[in-house]
């Protein structure tokens, strides 16, 4: 069983600061981390490998410093990592990103045939969730998004049993292998990395590819050029007038709000107990 996990380096949105003048984010203020959903994707690959054997590759696209998230994935338990980095990839939207990653996956698949691809549900910097299903279409394998449990992997029959989250519950899906999963955070808990993994991660040198290392690439589909969407404008939404700000001491404010609420008989009322 060969599993490839696609990972992304993202700014840590928990720590990032906003420039109050421009209302945009100050990227320098945020450390770069492995996208949290992708960490769960790597962890799930590790869990599957414990049952099936085989190996785990991770693949990322980004600037040279994105090797850090590959090392982090090795720490969690991946066996090897690939980074595709090239100025030609810059400015890619989700369509151009899935194209570039699928070209790298084609090369990986040639050397080590791929049985399963796992992605995080979405990256916390873009929140789109569109790259995973896009890769599945380009590789012509079935996508199963929002997976919350890998219930069974049947290597003999080449099938996998999955729970997929829905708005009101979940569905149990059987998919042929190879397939692509995107995973929710609740699929697993990230375990503490064993010491040998940490040592290996520190020493690990990811395999780095440029566009010229990939085959049959249509450069017109890469990066900004290959991206059908553009940001037209950024704007601060008109500030609504806002409501009434109460005044006075804490007690006074609380009794004022209670009064207002009691008058709102169309909103709620007290029902005498039976």
């Amino acid at each position: 069983m060969h599993i490839v996990v696609c990972v992304k380096q993202v700014p840590d949105t928990k720590i990032i600061k906003i420039n109050p003048k421009t209302n945009t984010l100050d990227r320098r203020s945020a450390p770069a981390i492995l996208n949290p959903y992708d960490a769960h994707a790597v962890q799930e690959a590790v869990k599957i490998k414990e049952l099936t054997g085989g190996s785990i590759s991770v693949l990322s696209m980004g600037p040279p410093q994105a090797t850090a998230v590959i090392k982090k994935s090795i720490e969690i338990g991946a066996d090897r990592g690939y980074l595709i980095t090239d100025r030609a990839f810059a400015g890619a939207d989700t369509l151009a990103t899935s194209y570039a990653l699928s070209k790298a996956l084609e090369r990986i698949n040639k050397d080590h045939p791929v049985d399963m691809i796992i992605c995080g549900k979405h990256a916390i910097d873009g929140d789109t969730g569109q790259v995973g299903p896009g890769i599945a279409r380009r590789m012509d394998i079935p996508p199963v998004t929002n997976v919350i449990e890998v219930t069974e992997v049947n290597q003999k029959e080449k099938t996998v049993l999955l729970k997929r989250k829905l708005t009101n519950g979940y569905e149990l899906i059987q998919s042929e292998l190879p397939c692509l999963l995107t995973v929710e955070k609740e699929i697993n808990e990230i375990e503490y990395s064993p010491m040998p993994n940490m040592i290996e991660a520190a020493r690990y040198e990811p395999i780095i590819w440029a566009v010229s290392d990939l085959e049959n690439v249509d450069r017109a589909q890469l990066g900004l050029k290959g991206s059908p969407t553009i940001v037209g404008k950024m704007f601060t939404p008109p500030r609504p007038e806002g409501g009434k700000k109460l005044e006075g001491s804490a007690d006074e404010q609380v009794s004022q709000i209670m009064e207002v609420l009691m008058e709102k008989k169309d909103l709620f009322t007290l029902q005498p107990s039976k």
């Binding site: 369509l95 873009g126 896009g134 519950g169 969407t229 806002g242 009322t269």
Partner: protein, 343 residues
């Protein structure tokens, strides 16, 4: 690609158990406005098995026509079978805009279709408009990290596509007397062609916080300080029979489950009463709650943006105010002897 070959606004009609999802009806309302501005018809496309009776409802909610594909292989949503249907329709009828609800299935379908059509897709849109001269769809969403919106355009590819957050757009009042056309299409897809099978669908509401249907929500942010103080949120909610929600920070900190997150990457809620406590009001949160009917914000910072969207604002320390509120509600319940009910 000749962009002028593409005309019309389409909405994906998502259905489950013979019922149309709310977001699809909302998108018919939003799509109606776009279609009127562009002076083109509005169509819903409906895929499933034995779903034809729903087509009339699609028309009642504002569509001029319904494209229908009704086949046993479409009984359950699956990416491969549904996208084949959408590809068939889109290639034949060439719409200029396609809108999908930003639900698990809507996002899944839109992502697959965008890849095969090599066109642009904007995720989780919260504002929609069209520019009449350029006929461009202006799909806006909160930009990453800042209190700012980004408008995404797709200039050279058609159709222009977007997924749209549930509960942000408004559905029209249904009008059963509206007339429209139902166009039934066939595709040749066999069960053997589809590589996934849905073995079982489990409706599991226990794991859901049910925020989407709650009448009253008490929502806490990182201004609550720590997990211990956050218990005040639960206590207030418990006292008044409300559901508990939180911001992304609070969920990331592990104080709440993801199901309880309100905002851009969580639930969009529209309760009668919404308490925003210790929440600054970042746009990612506000887009998920601003359509609540009555919003009470409690925050130390008088300039917090949450006060811009609140009906009433209390400037003060939540640790001081919330216990007083709890005491007042408890006193009221003791005096009048009853439970709060919400109408």
């Amino acid at each position: 690609m000749n962009l002028d070959d593409y005309r019309g606004v389409w909405v994906f009609i998502e259905q489950n158990d013979e019922k149309i999802e709310g977001v699809s009806l909302e998108l018919l309302g939003a799509g109606r406005k776009l279609a009127d501005k562009l002076q083109v018809p509005l169509a819903g496309f409906l895929l499933g098995h034995e779903v034809k009776p729903l087509a009339k409802e699609v028309i009642a909610y504002g569509a001029d026509m319904v494209y229908l594909i009704d086949l046993p292989v479409l009984k359950h949503y699956r990416t491969e079978s549904f996208m084949k249907g959408v590809m068939h329709l889109a290639k034949q009828y060439k719409p200029e805009i396609i809108l999908y609800g930003a639900t698990p299935n809507g996002k899944d379908l839109a992502s697959a279709v965008a890849t095969d059509l090599s066109t642009g897709l904007t995720a989780d849109t919260t504002m929609l408009d069209v520019d009449i001269d350029s006929r461009l769809l202006e799909a806006s969403r909160p930009a990453f990290g800042g209190n700012i919106m980004a408008t995404i355009l797709c200039k050279k590819h058609r159709p222009q596509m977007a997924t749209v957050r549930p509960k942000v757009m408004k559905a029209l009042e249904p009008d059963a007397s509206r007339l429209g056309k139902i166009i039934e299409e066939k595709i040749s897809v066999e069960e053997e062609d589809i590589r996934t099978k849905v073995l079982q669908i489990v409706n599991d509401v226990t794991k859901k916080a049910n925020l989407a249907d709650a009448h009253v929500i008490v929502c806490g942010g990182k201004g609550m300080g720590d997990l211990q103080n956050f218990q005040l949120i639960y206590e207030l909610a418990d006292t008044i029979g409300a559901s508990v929600g939180g911001t992304r920070d609070v969920v990331e900190a592990g104080w709440l489950r993801h199901e309880q997150q309100v905002g851009q990457t969580g639930e969009t809620v529209t309760p009668k009463i919404y308490f925003a406590i210790g929440i600054s009001g970042a746009i990612q949160h506000v887009v998920g709650m601003k359509n609540s009917e009555f919003i009470i914000a409690i925050n130390k910072d008088p300039n917090a943006p949450i006060f811009d969207v609140s009906t009433y604002g209390i400037v003060g320390d939540a640790m001081e105010i919330v216990p007083k509120l709890i005491a007042q509600f408890k006193k009221l319940k003791a005096e009048k002897g009853g439970e709060m009910i919400y109408v």
